[in-house]
């Protein structure tokens, strides 16, 4: 029997107002498809390629001053209020969990998914990477324990050799939840997950020590610490974005693995909604069957993407190290160059969620007016209508797309700069510097094309 699925196809510009990042796209795509995106992709790619060529002209060491921070003065001994911030964040999280369990069942009216995905995952991720170390103020995990047990002593010592591998595994699992779970927006489900993770983290901090657990296992602290390396400002020092990457850090393969997971997951988040991917897994993009039906293809695709990116990144690094025999070992280069991928991961994160954020932050504000669904209208926000019409105005759609594309291109330009500077830490001659980063440069040019193509592609999910 043939089925009529008229309604299921009826929205050429369906605005996907998902609060969860896994569903996050405003499909203003009809107008995007009318834009000369091929020309834009070529332009963006040429910009990145031109940056690589310009850097060839530099004398070795010429980038050094750029990556050296300016110290704005001695750090002033101020009272540290961050513990209070964390305590408030913990109370806030507890409230969100309560709202998730007992609040409105519509995820568009429940602050649990709205705050988690829109405020934390979309907004604070970018704030942490570019503006300010917000995580040290809102990390909710240690607060409760600090109040109950001021002195943190480990009952069992977590081997330092484990480094952040536990966090790598948990981050991979988290990305699986974000992308492949059937209902990552369901308030109750999210609340239960949050409780589970909180209990897990409290137990871990109690047994293995607060700082150790946060440093090696708690994947969000690890994530926010790593992306924070891109921030121009650190305490009283300020420098070019990424300067912190070149200050002293204990870095190893686990850090590289973590960064590769973040980048690959972000890229796969863009890829798995495209017509191209859906067609490849045998799904008609105009007849998208829903996430439940695609849990396994998505899961396999995600972890396949992580392995694939790791492999091509390794190949790119290997090419460089092979060309500069003896100057640097493969493993060292693999670890150090992985940090040059951070800007790309952050740039794409911004671009990917930008449109959804513009809509969802309005939903957050409207819901803040009545967080417990008691009929309140705090701050008069309840009467705000969520404006989505701008997504069907061609001029606005174009401006937004160029903004997204600009972020992708800029992040690659920064990645190229960091890559050049990284190569300089291992080699002294211009020839070797270029040779060492040759594979990475090729990778970055192609990743630019890929990132812009993702933004321009029609999506079915």
């Amino acid at each position: 029997m043939t089925l009529l699925v008229k309604s299921c196809l009826a929205a050429p510009l369906a605005v996907i107002l998902a609060s969860g990042p896994a569903l996050a796209h405003a499909a203003d795509q009809g107008f995007v498809l009318l834009l000369p995106t091929t020309a834009y992709i070529v332009g963006g790619t040429l910009t990145v390629a031109a940056t690589i060529l310009l850097l060839i002209l530099l004398r070795p060491g010429q980038l050094d001053p750029l990556m050296r921070p300016v110290v704005l003065g001695p750090p002033r001994a101020k009272r540290d209020w961050r513990g209070w911030g964390q305590l408030f964040a913990a109370i806030g999280l507890a409230l969100l969990i309560l709202i998730g369990l007992r609040g409105p069942t519509d995820p568009q009216a429940n602050l649990m998914p709205l705050v988690l995905w829109t405020v934390w995952w979309m907004l604070l991720f970018v704030v942490q990477a570019l503006v300010f170390d917000i995580w040290s103020w809102i990390n909710p995990w240690p607060a409760l324990l600090r109040v109950l047990v001021p002195e943190s002593k480990a009952l069992i010592t977590l081997p330092a050799g484990l480094s952040i591998w536990p966090a790598v595994v948990i981050m991979a699992a988290f990305q699986g939840f974000v992308l492949a779970d059937a209902a990552p927006n369901d308030p109750e489900r999210l609340a239960i997950f949050a409780i589970g993770y909180w209990v897990f983290t409290l137990a871990g901090m109690t047994v293995f020590g607060r700082e150790t657990w946060l440093r090696q296992v708690e994947c969000f602290t690890v994530l926010f610490t790593l992306i924070g390396l891109l921030r121009p400002v650190k305490r009283s020092s300020i420098g070019f974005p990424g300067w912190q990457v070149f200050s002293k850090h204990q870095l190893d393969l686990s850090h590289a693995g973590f960064i590769l997971i973040v980048l690959a997951s972000g890229s796969f988040d863009g890829l798995y909604e495209t017509f191209r991917w859906l067609a490849r897994i045998g799904v008609n993009p105009l007849e998208y069957p829903g996430r439940t039906a695609l849990v396994w293809p998505t899961t396999l695709g995600l972890y396949g993407s992580i392995l694939f990116l790791t492999a091509i990144f390794a190949l790119a690094v290997f090419l460089g190290t092979a060309l500069v025999k003896g100057s640097v070992g493969f493993k060292t280069a693999f670890v150090r160059f992985s940090f040059t991928l951070l800007p790309i991961a952050i740039g794409y994160h911004f671009a990917h969620y930008f449109v959804t954020f513009l809509v969802q932050i309005q939903v957050v504000l409207a819901t803040l007016a009545d967080p417990f669904a008691l009929g309140w209208n705090l701050f008069g926000l309840g009467h705000r209508r969520v404006m989505v019409g701008f997504l069907t105005v061609p001029g606005t759609v174009k401006a937004i797309w160029l903004c997204q594309a600009g972020a992708v291109v800029l992040s690659h330009v920064l990645a190229v700069l960091l890559s050049h500077r990284t190569a300089e830490t291992f080699c002294s001659s211009r020839r070797d510097i270029l040779a060492l980063q040759s594979g990475i440069s090729i990778l970055m040019v192609f990743y630019t094309i890929f990132g812009l193509w993702l933004l321009a592609s029609p999506r079915g999910a």
Partner: protein
Amino acid sequence: MKNPPKISRRKTLLGLGAGAGALATTGVLPGSLGFAQAQSSAPIKIGFQKHATGIGAAYGRWYDTTTTAAVARINEMGGINGRPVEIITEDDATDPGRGAEVLEKFANQHEVDVAFGTLFSHVVIGSAPRAGELKLPYFVVSEGHHVASGMLNRYTLQPGITDVKSQVISMAPFVADNLGKKVTMIYPDFAFGHDHRDFFSEAIEAQGGEVVAKIAIPPTETTFTRYFPNIPRETEVIYHVMVGPAVLTFVKEMGEFFGPSRPEIFGFIDSLEAVDIQSPGLEFLEGTYFWEGMPRHKQANESEAASAYRAAVGVNDRGAAIDDPANVATYAHMFGCWETLNVIKAGMEAADYQGPADRTKLIEAVEAMTEMPESLDHPQGDKLFNGKTHQAFGKQFISKVSDGNLEVVHTASIEDGLYADEVDYTTQSF
């Protein structure tokens, strides 16, 4: 263990709205909302299966707006059987798997009286069997033919919106009489497009016309120029039902292909639902025709009921949100939520519905319905409900794009859209 009831935002907001009036007039305490004359003042709970996320979210938002407005009106009128109506919203993520889970939550956790509101066909098809198992009346607003085709069950009804088979066949007389008899169909190459192809081919032949070419476009196609040379020169009318993000590209390229001389063009507004017809690139649509479930642009002769409905859902004369004029409504479909809720109300009143034990009485009461005259309960127009097939039939509109406005040039009668019954659900046991 039974889960405690959840707070419903809408319940609270509506409660305040209705309660404010009640307080002003009777001074009753909040909570009774002026419904105290009923045997039970406990609310009638309607589970709204909302496409809050996923590919249906644009529709979900407008279905939500319409549902909220309809329930506000029902409560202002005293509710159902003297009891207030409470909407419990759950997100089905436009996902059939989640849809079935949501129905379970409605039945077991929220203990709703009926479930309502689903649009996307695959979610209806994925959820309806569970509604049957749960013995939960399931009122869908999907316009799919799957209800009337007999593939679902006695608990699933579609009384507030017509189905696509009826829509398609009711277009044939106008097309044959006014636009031409030689038709080329351009449609996406999968079940949705095939159904249009099959229903319309049969219907136009019955009118003495013929489909001279059937051009199936692969669903992943995003450029169409190479398909247009396949349109035969003898074509008098192009019937298009393209959907998806590439629709605008399709229109633009079709315009570039034909230039100023083109055959007549007829399409379904579904292609451009929620899109401003005056968007750049759509100029080519000037002078072409569209099916509309309900006229998006206010007509000179719009009925009082239709205008009142337009105001109630916050839509301006151009079919867009009053306070966000670029946000065009899913106007051809969302009236179905309004009308379905009024059918539920009428059904519960006819059945003297008191609680879940009366669910079968409710279904029998709705099955017994026939004519539903145009009114504020049915602002889209007269309906004829077929209790055997659980499907409503109604008027269909054909609008011509004139100076960027959708002007109704023909209204297909209910009779134009009737077809032989394919099922008799009333013979199925509960």
